[in-house]
Symmetry: C2
Subunit: 238 residues, 2 copies
Amino acid sequence: MLSKNEQKKIRLLSEKKYRSKFGLFIAEGLKIVKELIQEGHAFESIYSSKPIDFAPYKLIDKSTLNKVSQFTNASSIIGVFKIPKFSNRFNTESFSLALDSVSDPGNLGTIIRLCDWFGINDIFCSSDTVDCYNLKVVQSSMGSIARVKCHYTDLSTFLSKSELTVYGATLNGISHYDNLYNKKGILVLGSESHGISPKVLKEIDQYVTINSMGVGTKADSLNVATATAILLGEVFRP
Amino acid sequence: MLSKNEQKKIRLLSEKKYRSKFGLFIAEGLKIVKELIQEGHAFESIYSSKPIDFAPYKLIDKSTLNKVSQFTNASSIIGVFKIPKFSNRFNTESFSLALDSVSDPGNLGTIIRLCDWFGINDIFCSSDTVDCYNLKVVQSSMGSIARVKCHYTDLSTFLSKSELTVYGATLNGISHYDNLYNKKGILVLGSESHGISPKVLKEIDQYVTINSMGVGTKADSLNVATATAILLGEVFRP
């Protein structure tokens, strides 16, 4: 059984203010819950409607899971995890990503998954970027949130202190095909509608533009996750 | 005013069987509706709560739009468009994309937008790929559905007749960085969970794999739209 208080707490964790207050976030589904635990993430409780063997858990019935799940069809397992604390210290040994005002949770989750694929450990996010512990972000990261760290910070101040080359995706840069990336550096992407903010733009060392290849193409922008994918494909070109 | 019958019809068009029956689909929002009309798509009716100057329309109040919209917050305009008829004839003058069992509407919409960016005119979809006139596809294509044609067909039969090189994204191919693409060809992507189906695999001339760059990375797959983005970035590398 889940007490009324436990049920209420899980439901409150759909809101960022309560995630911050309690220092907790929710993950749903076997793959993601298991990966978080295997990567050593501390948790408060695991609720499952089926027996599991990788963590202590509370067996609860499916109808109760359905009541507290944020999905129409709840999965068989919900985990309440502790939000980890990271230092914002910049890792100068690898390439990193920075996001300025990216608001769509599905896009952030997809970008986290991409970073995991390319071996990027750190994403530096402007304070108004969507919370990485938003359930939609956690879910669309497909477990990669267990390995990639999102740091929320004042992005322009942070970048101004970096000694690495700062690349920024804009519409007026040099072609991203120009083989321009250092092995160590940081790539900044802005929101789809507004691009990189003026304050952050000042900290960019090199503007980069994805060539639009269509003869007379009228597509005026790319989804921020697919733009990140194309750019990272180039960054990690052997 | 919108008659009860008109309201019912718009609501029915959220289902594929009614879109097929009536030969109609819905687009919501000024950018998309305008682009479809400017690209010459035939429409049955345009309903708007604000005056517009690019098409004949019916002025209706916001509360009625809200009633028929599939979104929680309706935009100011809904268009009922005719589903165009395309021939499945293969354009041998350009590069094309093929999708095998891609089920997520957001992913298909994002892929359509990507194709538009790269100047790809045709996407050949297996019959079980999500309908491109699903509202979520139309919306996430951000207007690119107005320019990129989706053809639904028996994919293996279709590919068996193609004289162009057929590339397929798999986990056991040569590196996508190997500069291997012909200017004319067709690239096949499968579903995230099952990959390309065995029948379609038989028609692939060259397997291609996106290198996972992380040392000890545990990401086991990429979102199909971001995988398409990385691959198209290479296909169109100057």
